[in-house]
């Protein structure tokens, strides 16, 4: 099992994520909706993977199940060699803190905090206080925002705010970055900036799983999967 949070991992080593016969069913009054239907998937460390598909195809549900936020109705989910679909909240909390990080469609930041403080925030839950400020500054520098470190969220553009989210996702050195429509609300130029950011992170060895509607963004990932009716219809 890989317990080291280092991002320097080699492609084609032990799978980072394994989904085995995953189904997610939402029961309604007269019928059930299959968000995911008997899905199998393996993601290797260092992969840069995108899911595309129409609304309701199960993309976000899949992302949440991979990240341990949601549980499948049936099937097994493994992350870094550990089965996570049966884990208690306490252990899932550790996984969310150390192994998985999210970048969401909207730049979900705390407006009362500066860019730097937003990046540092996840460390408050881990209790990690070692050189946190220095690390956060380095991450902001990595996403090109070192000069905006002390700016409040409302002083940042949409693209800058999203880059702060990316820096925040990296602060606890996760094994896996899950991005849910990370460029959804951005203009073309800013989208390109964010895409380049993800490409750079992947080049450093980060594993990135992205959900997107944007064919252009999907086309730039190394592996592209198309979801339809809860199944992978094209790879």
């Amino acid at each position: 099992m890989n317990t080291n949070a280092s991002v320097k991992v080699a492609v084609n080593s032990q799978p980072l994520v394994v989904l085995s016969h995953i189904s997610k069913v939402y029961p309604l009054s007269d019928h059930s909706v299959y968000a995911l239907d008997d899905m199998n998937l393996t993601i290797l460390p260092g992969e840069y993977l995108s899911f595309m598909g129409p609304s309701g195809s199960g993309k976000s549900t899949l992302l949440n199940i991979i990240g341990g936020i949601d549980k499948p109705t049936s099937g097994e989910v493994y992350l870094d060699g550990e089965r996570i679909d049966t884990l208690k909240e306490q252990r899932l909390l550790v996984i969310r803190r150390r192994k998985v990080a999210y970048v969401l469609q909207e730049a979900r930041l705390f407006p009362s905090l500066t860019a730097l403080e937003n990046v540092m925030l996840p460390t408050a839950f881990v209790g990690d206080r070692k050189q946190v400020r220095q690390r956060a500054l380095e991450l902001l520098s990595k996403v090109g925002l070192e000069k905006r470190a002390n700016h409040l969220v409302h002083q940042l553009s949409g693209g800058e705010a999203q880059r702060v989210c990316i820096a925040r996702a990296l602060i606890n050195q996760p094994l896996l970055i899950l991005a849910d429509e990370p460029t959804g609300n951005l203009d073309h130029e800013t989208r390109l900036e964010i895409v380049q950011q993800f490409e750079a992170l992947n080049a450093e060895g980060h594993t990135i799983v992205m959900v997107t509607h944007d064919p252009e963004l999907s086309a730039r990932t190394r592996r592209r999967l198309l979801l339809r009716d809860g199944k992978i219809s094209q790879s």
Binding site: N64, R96, F110, S112, F125
Partner: protein, 405 residues
């Protein structure tokens, strides 16, 4: 980055919400503070008032068995020599001092909350000589009094017209006597063959005083040939919890020919009133705290629903339920401090504004510990009101909270 920093920043950002919630706490605390301040002032005022009425002794000649008007020794030939007053005073003072020092000995007023020192002023001895005679064809009691001491013991005396007596050639008449006889200020009345000007008419007191004519003690003594004699002595103690029972016993044991009686029933009534007022105040304080909790609970419950997105994000970033609770607790404490301080200031203003209107003459007193109490009460209220909404909201699963985006 620490959790309390996040909590404080979020409070600072949500100024309207913060002010709204803090004002809820502040109003409750203000009610609490005002109730305590006005209640304490009222209690103290009540104590002082009933103490002034209640802490007194009446010393009569030994053969006079009660204090009704018919037994004041009028015409009975029983008097107390004026020269005995200093020795009675000495015995009285010694008994009060001993009883006071003992604190908890023979103290008639039960329920004394604390011991401690109290400045004991000298008691006021107000002797009276009563003589019955005909004035304006009516049988009337003429009372000779020591005007200064009399005004101090009967502080409720007020004149209806004219002035309180201050001239040996003038008399003051009771309201009922004036009404019956039609005598007015400035008229002259003959008493035992001597003419006096009516200097004032006493306002109605609902006591035998309303039927009497008052003049100075030496004048009445001389008029009726009773120099150096008095019919009774009213003694007014000048401390809240004076052990007048001790003085009563000492005088009765040591002074031959007189009998002292204290007003035990009044002392007991004082204790009862004090206890009832305390209960009312405590009930009001309890109710105001309960209202505070409910008001703040409603406010916080409302804001929690609007914060599910934020809670979802915090959970996704790795916040545990305990950490969320701590963050809410920090916010709650900060709101409590803010609400407590504003509430204290508001409560003091209300107390000073409304207190004198509610309780005429009551003095609002401030103490160093009251702001502290206000802030602690506000924090406790805020924490109590936050606890349930925070427990409820922090229990939301990550998936549910996350979907709330």
């Amino acid at each position: 980055m620490r959790l309390y920093q996040l909590a404080l920043r979020e409070i600072g950002r949500r100024k309207i919400r913060t002010l709204y919630t803090a004002s809820g706490i502040a109003l409750s605390v203000a009610l609490l503070v005002a109730t305590i301040l006005v209640g304490s002032a009222g209690q103290k005022d009540l104590l002082l008032t009933i103490a002034r009425y209640g802490h007194s002794l009446t010393i009569l000649p030994a053969t006079t068995m009660d204090t009704s008007l018919q037994s004041f020794g009028i015409g009975s030939g029983h008097y107390i020599p004026e020269e005995a007053i200093p020795s009675i005073r000495t015995i009285y003072d010694a008994a009060i001092k001993t009883g006071w020092e003992r604190m908890g000995g023979l103290v008639l007023q039960s329920g004394i909350p604390f011991g401690g020192e109290q400045q004991i002023q000298e008691a006021i001895f107000a002797p009276r000589l009563y003589e019955e005679t005909n004035v304006l064809d009516r049988r009337v009691v003429v009372a000779g009094v020591d005007s200064v001491a009399e005004y101090q013991t009967r502080f409720w005396w007020e004149v209806d017209s004219g002035n309180l007596m201050n001239d040996p050639q003038e008399v003051m008449v009771g309201k009922v006597f004036a009404a019956i006889t039609g005598v007015k200020v400035g008229d002259r009345v003959d008493i035992n063959g001597q003419s006096f000007k009516v200097g004032g008419i006493l306002r109605e007191t609902d006591s035998p005083d309303d039927y009497m004519i008052f003049s100075t003690l030496p004048t009445v003594q001389k008029l009726f040939g009773k120099q150096g004699l008095v019919s009774l002595i009213n003694v007014r103690a000048m401390c809240n919890y004076c052990p007048v029972g001790d003085a009563e016993l000492a005088i009765n044991q040591k002074v031959v020919g007189v009998r002292a009686t204290s007003q035990r029933e009044i002392a007991q009534a004082q204790h009862k009133i004090f206890r009832n007022v305390t209960h009312v105040i405590l009930t009001l304080v309890g109710l105001s705290l309960l209202m505070a909790c409910m008001a703040v609970f409603n406010m916080i419950m409302g804001t929690m629903h609007g914060r599910i997105r934020e809670i979802g994000l915090l959970k996704v970033l790795g916040a545990s339920r305990w950490q969320l609770m701590r963050t809410f607790a920090y916010e709650s404490i900060a709101l409590g401090i803010l609400g407590g301080l504003i509430g204290y200031a508001l409560g003091v203003s209300i107390a000073f504004g409304v207190g004198p209107w509610l309780l005429s003459g009551a003095i609002i007193e401030l103490h160093w510990w009251e702001p502290l109490l206000a802030v602690v009460a506000a924090i406790m209220t805020s924490l109590l009101a936050t606890l349930l909404p925070a427990l409820h909201t922090s229990r939301i699963s990550v998936a549910t909270a996350f979907r709330a985006q």
